[in-house]
Symmetry: C2
Subunit: 388 residues, 2 copies
Amino acid sequence: MTTALQTPASRRTGSVGIVQPQLFRCDHPITLQCGKTLPHYELVYETYGTLNTAKSNAVLICHALSGHHHAAGFHSKDDKKPGWWDACIGPGKAIDTDRYFVVSLNNLGGCHGSTGPSSVNPDTNKPYGPDFPIVTVRDWVNSQHTLMQHLQVPHWAAVVGGSLGGMQAMQWAIDYPDLVRNAVVIAAAPKLSAQNIAFNEVARKAILSDPDFREGHYYEHNTYPKIGLSLARMLGHITYLSDAAMREKFGRELRDGAKSFDFDVEFQVESYLNYQGEVFSKNFDANTYLLMTRALDYFDPAEEYDHDLRKALAEAKANFLVMSFTTDWRFSPERSQEIVQALLAARKRVSYADIECPQGHDSFLLDVPRYTSLFKAYMNSIELDGES
Amino acid sequence: MTTALQTPASRRTGSVGIVQPQLFRCDHPITLQCGKTLPHYELVYETYGTLNTAKSNAVLICHALSGHHHAAGFHSKDDKKPGWWDACIGPGKAIDTDRYFVVSLNNLGGCHGSTGPSSVNPDTNKPYGPDFPIVTVRDWVNSQHTLMQHLQVPHWAAVVGGSLGGMQAMQWAIDYPDLVRNAVVIAAAPKLSAQNIAFNEVARKAILSDPDFREGHYYEHNTYPKIGLSLARMLGHITYLSDAAMREKFGRELRDGAKSFDFDVEFQVESYLNYQGEVFSKNFDANTYLLMTRALDYFDPAEEYDHDLRKALAEAKANFLVMSFTTDWRFSPERSQEIVQALLAARKRVSYADIECPQGHDSFLLDVPRYTSLFKAYMNSIELDGES
């Protein structure tokens, strides 16, 4: 039997295939924006494709709120679900692994293998829990920079991300102008709106007030805030989908066809959200969720530049691709256009597309032809040093 | 000292002054849409203005999710806050109490004096709690009809409401076509969208999963689901305000001016929402909140007319005023326009205005000049039998 026959048809084309997470341990301390220091930390990451001789083809993938390092391919041949951005990463895809060396990591504070609240605190030999320091987008960029040095990548051909990932791409272009040739900022915003922060606060309150949260020390009690984290995820999920997408997907259909006249789950949309919430609560760490939402709240690269995004972006040397989706109401096209306006005012090279797509914020994860083809065209147009 | 001098300036003009709630007890049983029967029930209500000799000037006010009977005026001279719709009800206001006899009640299932989950169940001599039957918009209309008979009002010059109140006005025009001369439907929708239902489900889950909810029997345990109801209200509040209104009101201001790098409440918007949630949780009954959200979910007058709103409205004899607000994303202008389209298709007389206003869904409660003047013009144009 050949290898090809062992691999399901869907995985033969355009997939990076079976991938293996790797671990980078940084033994140098990192001082975070909050003032605290981690003496050492680990980052779990995956790579797809090959670093070329000129080391000019590296692309960094930055993940969003609930993302992780496993962005493409499969972890085993029995693995049913590919990585979260498999729609955009692989041979011949928007981020073409035949051309690029792609690096995708789990951020510091995460819960998929990188050092985070569920890791052991060397001071106590217990999980950090709520004592894990608050990390910011800038902290992530700094820790990603140490990974970059470890991988001996001299510059990124592109730093790419959607949502919170797009914010990291912006921050990279600002903080390390010489190391970023292109920044791809998808379905993001220059900072959260009061409404965005408000949704995060309701999510946090749901988690913090769950009796099983135990002030963040749930690991030691062998429990987890299932209800609080479910609620947070359900709420998040509503903001990821457009009203139209929800209508299309669920309408007002009743699960059992007739009204039950009680408060049990009966509309399809309730059932779906409850299921999503429950699955998520089992697979994601509540302390990490809290950290991620705070990193979102705090993100505001213009803050230290007189609240002028143009000034914040003034030193950036990257070319930018900014993309938004017409039905995204979490980070609406207007928010992406604020970034574009600031880039134009700062005389940066920027391509912008507002992509008509009914699925809302989550569109950036999906194989939407207008989106992926535009994305691919941009990525293909990037000139790489040493490439003939 | 004259009475006028004792009354603060703001109350001298346009206020109905001091008002007194009244109680109507219906000793006939009411059979609800869920199939259950209440042997008797009480409705608390207020009236403003005087029923004219021809009994042609009565206006019914229907309240929204968290509303009640106290729509205008004050309960005592020390009362600081007027009724919830004081912006629109009073002498010289949109609903002019010099001309109209206004009736405003707390709906069945409510928690402000009408029979509801916190009332004593005659079968058990304990509060109904979760055993209070699910009520629907149609049930409310039927119970309002018994109040109407009690008040010897032969027909309504207008049935008026915003949000869930507007849905009751629509249902009145459909169910009692001969008794409604005008229906004023403000910031409403012909039925909830999947997104609307999803928000309700998250709110319900927050309440139902609060340990202090005690399966709805919290009265007997001398407690209440403070956290769950707070979360529900916080979430509701986000949907009542537009993104722009939140930005205008709070921006990204920090309460103490600097980041705290923890999960305490620190942005102004978090502080505001937490305060709103806490106040609400003390003043509103969680079981009622559950009932109200289900009444919203279930509202769909077209359902029994082949899902054709035009057919549902075919027998209505009322003239309609439909109003929406440009920044309302809970029930967007498009939803009001669905109602208008159906009314036009059914050859009904309908006036429609989409009012430019930054405040979102809550606009209907506010003294927005373009809104109140239009509303007033419509109400003033209504011809009353026996009026010279």
